[in-house]
């Protein structure tokens, strides 16, 4: 029987949550790497036993862990992330030039077809790639070097490259998103890049329609329709129908269009999920009610999903990498909170139940659908 494996990164370790296809009884494994911040754990689409994890510490820096048995055992691999050439500067919070300095890996994106190849999005924003299972990392410097890099500024959480999307239908097309620079696209496997932010409007920057400078929180794509992208921006939920060439707002009737994660139903490319958060100064849900909002129309029209989620006194946040979907026949949706809950829905969001309630603050959630 098919099953799922939910990979959870937290402030104090990683957890692996496993279930069969019914998704009602769960085995909880962890904490792996206890005491370390685990920004992201993700499995290879080409080999579900191959997992990569980003393990970080303010004291001891970056470690990359790799598992070849689905998270049963792990081994550290390469952790040297050196920017190509002279790193140069970006803007600091006060507008002064600040040298590019590696801080941590926010996101690991394994290749769609080669378990040995994996991309890493890092802070300060840059994109790295390993082709030997994580042993060695090389920067793809065309992103930082395409021209606008010196004008990038960090968001409140740091200047992180947090989203990497590999287009399954166009080998060589990669999307990346950076807070607070915006979205970028490469059509040549990461060698050259250009900003793809036309249509974004951000009131918090001097030119609200600038080519770069937007605080993009997350981008999602459905693999069957890769020209359509959905974006949760700092404020505004956006949609592109032309692979990022232009964007339009689809926040519609959401109670607030601030938030972090966004994801797409595994089988319905027009079904999209977000978690509205009150504001950038109140990082908790409106009215103390934890509600996932679902659009079945590709945006604009949204419905609250509340069954099984706390509807009073709930003041957690859901971070940008902390939502994922499985691809079982009835699509499962998962998200983790800064309060340590991981919620699952086995019916596309209609009803929810916690898998675990008391983990450390959840930084990331990924799901593997197993044969």
């Amino acid at each position: 029987m098919s099953g799922v494996r939910v990979l959870v990164g937290t402030r104090k370790g990683a957890f692996v949550l496993s279930s069969d296809g019914k998704r009602d009884k769960w085995d909880v494994s962890g904490p792996h790497f206890p005491g370390w911040e685990i920004y992201h754990v993700k499995g290879s689409p080409a080999d579900p036993d191959r997992l990569y994890a980003s393990q970080t510490s303010g004291w001891f820096g970056q470690v990359i862990q790799r598992s070849d048995d689905g998270g049963g055992t792990w081994a550290p691999v390469g952790n040297e992330f050196s920017y190509e050439g002279t790193p140069g500067t970006h803007q600091w919070y006060d507008g002064t030039p600040h040298p590019w300095e590696f801080a941590r890996v926010w996101h690991l994106e394994p290749s769609l077809d080669d378990p040995e190849t994996v991309y890493a999005g890092v802070e300060d924003a840059g994109l790295f790639r390993s082709t030997d299972g994580g042993q060695h990392w090389q920067e793809l410097p065309g992103l930082r070097g395409h021209g606008s890099g010196p004008s990038w500024q960090p968001g409140a959480g740091g200047m992180c490259l947090h989203t990497i999307i590999l287009d399954p239908s166009s080998p060589g097309r990669i999307f990346a998103a950076i807070s607070a620079a915006g979205a970028f696209r490469s059509d040549d496997a990461g060698q050259t890049w250009r900003p793809v932010n036309r249509g974004l409007h951000s009131k918090g920057i001097p030119d609200p329609a600038a080519e770069v400078g937007h605080c993009v929180h997350r981008i999602a794509m459905h693999p069957s329709r890769p020209s359509v992208l959905y974006m949760q921006k700092h404020w505004d939920v956006m949609r592109s129908d032309d692979a990022g060439e232009s964007w339009r707002e689809v926040s519609g009737d959401l109670p607030t269009d601030f938030g972090f994660p966004i994801d797409v139903h595994a089988h319905e490319p027009d079904t999209v999920y977000v978690v509205p958060i009150t504001s950038d100064s109140h990082h908790f849900p409106p009215e103390g009610k934890l509600r996932v909002y679902r659009s079945r129309t590709g945006g604009d029209e949204w419905e609250p999903l509340t069954s099984g989620l706390p509807q009073e006194h709930c003041y957690v946040n859901v971070l940008r990498d902390a939502m994922a979907v499985d691809s079982l026949e009835e699509c499962g949706i998962y998200f983790g909170t800064t309060g340590g809950q991981v919620y699952a829905s086995a019916d596309a969001g209609d009803t929810w139940a916690p898998i675990v309630r008391d983990l450390p603050a959840v930084l990331s959630v990924e799901v593997q659908t197993l044969p």
Partner: protein, 98 residues
């Protein structure tokens, strides 16, 4: 034989329990001890000092013989008691974070 005591997180990463014992040829300096440590346990590279510059990470400290050696030059000789194995060389995660 040099005795090195790692902080708990790095013991877990290197999968060692208790002290690490290293043989260091030539003059026993902090740099030589760290070189030997990283050669034995490559997974520790980058966690104590920078890969390329060799600069100590900000929240890592080096103690021995009741002294803070963190700001000593990497090539300065360590105390004879460390070189002889009478006293351990401690790599410490600084108290920080409240």
């Amino acid at each position: 034989m040099i005795r090195v005591i790692l902080p708990a997180h790095l013991r877990a990463l290197a999968r060692v329990a208790g002290e690490v014992h290293l043989d260091v040829a030539g003059q026993v300096t902090q740099c030589a001890v760290l070189d030997a440590l990283e050669a034995r346990y490559p997974m520790l590279r980058g966690t104590i000092r920078d890969h390329r510059s060799g600069k100590r990470r900000a929240f890592v400290r080096f103690f021995a013989c009741q002294q803070d050696l963190s700001h000593e030059p990497p090539e300065a000789p360590l105390p004879e008691a460390v070189a002889s194995g009478a006293e351990p060389y401690l790599i410490v995660g600084a108290m920080a974070g409240g």
